[in-house]
Symmetry: C2
Subunit: 404 residues, 2 copies
C-alpha cells in the first residue's frame, strides 16, 4: 500500500535550508511506494494542527526557485514535543496515511526526531523518521560541518572584508557581535576575510573560552597603539567563568524557548556594553559596535555554492534512506580528501540535543584568535568566487618636500 511522506523544517532558518527541502521532495516523489509528499507548516506544529501543503503538486521549476531562496519555505517552530504532543501528531499522521517523517533542523530538531521516533515505537505507530542536518552554528555532533554554516560563514567573510576596509579608512575600534551560543564557528569565520598582515579581525572572542574583559582590552589597546585601529569579532554566547552569558546579564528579562535556550540575538546590548568598556577604560574616541543579527543566516545573495550542493545532497540522502531503506537515523557529512565529502547515517541519539564546539586545535593558545588549522578547515566551506579585497600598492609613497 502506498503511504505518504511528511517533511518539515525546524529551528532557525538558513540560506540553504530549502535546498534540503527540495532535495528530499524530488527524491521522495520518485518512489512507487510514495503516494503524496506533504509539507507540514511551521515544523512539528503543522503536524499537530494538520496544516499541510501538497508538495507533489509543485512544479520542478518552482521547487528550484524555492531551493535558491533563503529561509524555511514551510515556516519553522521551536516547539519541543512531549508524549501528548506526539499522540496528537500520530493521530494526524494516521489520518493522512503518513509512514515517513523527514525533519530538517539543528540539534534541537534532531532531538525532536528522536522523541517522535521513540514515541511512535511506544505507540505502535509504523513510522520511519530521518533528521536532515542544518544550522548556521555548525554545532552538530558526528558532522564535519553542517549545511547552512558555509553560507552564513561566507556572509560573515564578505561583511568583514568590507568592514575591515571601512575601519582602515576611518580608524578607531570596531566591534561586531555574531551568532553562536556555545560554538564559535561562525564568529571564527570572520578570520577568513584577512588578506594583508594588518587586516582584521584582530581579536576574536569565542564561547569556547571564558571571556576575560581585561585580557581583551589589553589586546585591543596593543593593536590600536600599533596600527591606529582594531576590529573585534565577538560571539553572542561569550560568558564569564561561571558560564553565565554576558548578554544574558544585560537583559531585563530572559527569554527561553521550549528547548531551554536563552534568546541572545535580536538586541544590540552586548555590543554596546563592550563599546562602552573600550571607551571608558582605553579612552579611545571612535568606538563603534554592530550586531550582525538575523542578516547572517538569511541574507539573499551570499550563498556558498559548496554549501548549497551539500544541503541539496543531505535532503536527497535522507529521503532515500527513509523510503528505500526504512532507516530511522540522522544524515551526516564526512570530509574526505581536500576538499570532498561523503554522507552517512548515524543513530539519532548520537546527535540529538548534543552540541559540538570548536576543537582546541582551531583556537589560538591565547584564546583570542583562530589557528591555521581552522582556516584550512573553513576555507572550502564558503565556496567559490568569494569577493576579494585589493589595496593600492604600498611601495609608492611620495617623498616629503617639507620638514615639519
Amino acid at each position: 500500500m502506498k503511504r505518504n511522506v511528511i517533511i518539515a523544517q525546524g529551528g532557525g532558518p538558513t540560506a540553504v535550508i530549502n535546498q534540503s527541502l527540495v532535495g528530499a521532495v524530488l527524491e521522495a516523489r520518485g518512489y512507487d511506494s510514495v503516494d503524496r509528499v506533504y509539507g507540514a507548516l511551521h515544523g512539528i506544529r503543522g503536524l499537530v494542527d494538520e496544516d499541510f501543503v501538497d508538495l507533489t503538486r509543485e512544479t520542478h521549476g518552482n521547487l528550484e526557485r524555492v531551493a535558491a531562496t533563503p529561509s524555511s519555505a514551510l515556516g519553522s517552530t521551536r516547539d519541543k514535543p512531549d508524549a501528548d504532543y506526539c499522540k496528537a501528531m500520530f493521530k494526524t499522521l494516521a489520518a493522512h496515511n503518513a509512514g515517513t517523517f523527514l525533519y530538517i533542523g539543528g540539534n534541537d530538531s534532531s532531538d525532536t526526531v528522536r522523541i517522535v521516533a521513540e514515541e511512535a515505537k511506544a505507540a505502535g505507530y509504523d513510522l520511519t523518521a530521518v533528521h536532515i542536518p542544518k544550522t548556521v552554528d555548525n554545532d552538530l555532533m558526528e558532522n564535519d560541518h553542517t549545511p547552512g554554516y558555509g553560507s552564513a560563514a561566507r556572509f560573515v567573510t564578505q561583511a568583514f572584508t568590507g568592514l575591515n576596509l571601512d575601519n582602515r579608512a576611518l580608524k578607531g575600534v570596531y566591534i561586531a557581535v555574531l551568532m553562536g551560543r556555545h560554538a564559535g564557528f561562525l564568529t571564527a569565520a570572520s578570520s577568513l576575510a584577512r588578506k594583508h598582515e594588518d587586516d582584521g579581525p584582530h581579536v576574536i572572542c569565542l564561547p569556547e573560552r571564558d571571556f576575560d574583559m581585561d585580557g581583551v582590552l589589553a589586546r585591543i589597546k596593543e593593536t590600536h597603539d600599533r596600527i591606529g585601529r582594531c576590529i573585534v569579532a565577538v560571539s553572542e554566547g561569550i560568558h564569564d567563568r561561571s558560564g553565565e552569558p554576558i548578554a544574558a546579564s544585560l537583559m531585563q528579562s530572559v527569554e527561553r524557548d521550549a528547548h531551554g535556550n536563552i534568546s541572545l540575538s535580536g538586541t544590540g546590548a552586548l555590543g554596546d556594553l563592550l563599546a562602552q568598556e573600550v571607551k571608558a577604560k582605553l579612552g579611545i574616541g571612535r568606538v563603534r559596535a554592530d550586531t550582525f543579527g538575523y542578516m547572517q543566516r538569511a541574507f539573499a545573495g551570499a550563498v556558498s555554492d559548496v554549501d548549497a550542493r551539500e544541503a541539496r545532497d543531505v535532503g536527497e540522502v535522507a529521503a532515500r534512506a527513509a523510503i528505500r531503506d526504512g532507516r530511522t537515523a540522522s544524515v551526516t557529512i564526512e570530509r574526505i580528501g581536500n576538499y570532498a565529502v561523503q554522507y552517512d547515517l548515524v543513530p539519532l541519539e548520537k546527535i540529538a540535543a548534543k552540541t559540538r564546539v570548536m576543537p582546541d586545535p582551531y583556537i589560538a593558545a591565547d584564546g583570542l584568535d583562530v589557528t591555521r588549522d581552522f582556516l584550512d578547515y573553513a576555507r572550502p566551506l564558503i565556496g567559490s568566487a568569494v569577493p576579494e579585497a585589493a589595496r593600492l600598492f604600498e611601495n609608492n609613497p611620495v617623498e616629503k618636500q617639507l620638514s615639519r
Copy 2:
C-alpha cells in the same frame, strides 16, 4: 609647465567610492599637462600631513581590482578645514606643484571643496578643485541620486528579502534600524524587497516625518493581528516633534564630528528601545531588533552594476572638467529617460553642506510607507540580477481529515 593632480576621499566609505577614484586617476594620467597623480591619505588630513602615494605608478590591473573593492582605498577623514588648515594645505600643494584637487565625498566633503577653493582664491594659489559625489545617504542637492546609494540600497534590498522570509518562518515583530540621518532614502530601499502582498517591511519610519510611537505601535498591532508578524524599517535619524533624534536621547554622551553631525551609527540602542516598547505596550512575545550598522555601506559582494558604472563615470568627468576645462565645480547626475543618466557640473555652493531629503511624492500619506513613485525611482539604481525570493505555491493546501 606640467603640474600634479591630488585626489582624496572624505566622509563615510561606500561600496563603489574606489570606482570614482580609479575613474579620475585613469583620466588624469592621460593628459600631457599632468605630471603626477597623487593620492592624499585620509582625505584632506593627508594634504596637511604631506601624506601622499603616487598613483601614477599603479598598474591598470591593480587599479581595476581596487575599483571593485569597497571602502575608501586612500583612507578617509571627517576633518573640516578652516583658514589655517587651508594655509597648511597650500604649503603642501605648492611644495608638490599641485594645480588640481579632486575630492570624493558627500555634502560635508563638498563643503570642504568649497572652502578650499575660496581660500585658494583669497590666498592667490592657482588651484582647480572639483567635488566628486558619493554618499549612501543619497542626500546631495542637484543630483537625481548619488554614487554609493545604489549599492547600499541593493544590500538593504537583499537583506530584507531574506529577513522577510526569516520573519515569515518564525513570526513575531522584527525591527531593523538603517542609516540615514536626515534623509530616508536608504531605509526606504527596504521596500524594494517586497514581492508578495504580505511581504515586509510593513512599517517604514523615515526622518522626513516626526516619529510618533503611538501611530507606529498601532500599525504594528494591526499588521501583527492580521498576519501574525510585522517587519519595521526605521531610519537611525528618526526624531520627535522638536527635531531631537530619538537615538541621541538614548546616548550617555553625544559624539559630534567637525561638521557638527551627531554620530548615530555604531550602537543598537535605538532598535532595543523600540523593541522594548513593542513588547511592553503590545504584549507580543517574539520581538527582535537589529541595527544594520556599517555592513550596509561597505559589504563586499552586493554591488549594483549601475551604481558602479556611474561612480566610475563621475570620477572621469571630474578629472576631465578640472584638467581639460579648468572648472571648479561639483559633478552631478541627472536622470534622463527610463533608465539613463547624463552628467553635469554645478557651482559648489549649490551642493555644499546642504541636504536633500525624500520628496513628498515618495512618502505615503500616513507617513509610514513609501509610494509607487519611490519604487519606480529606486528600482533601476540597485542594478541587475538582484536575488529574488520564491515561495511554494499557496493554492495546494491539503484537505484536513480531522475535526478539531
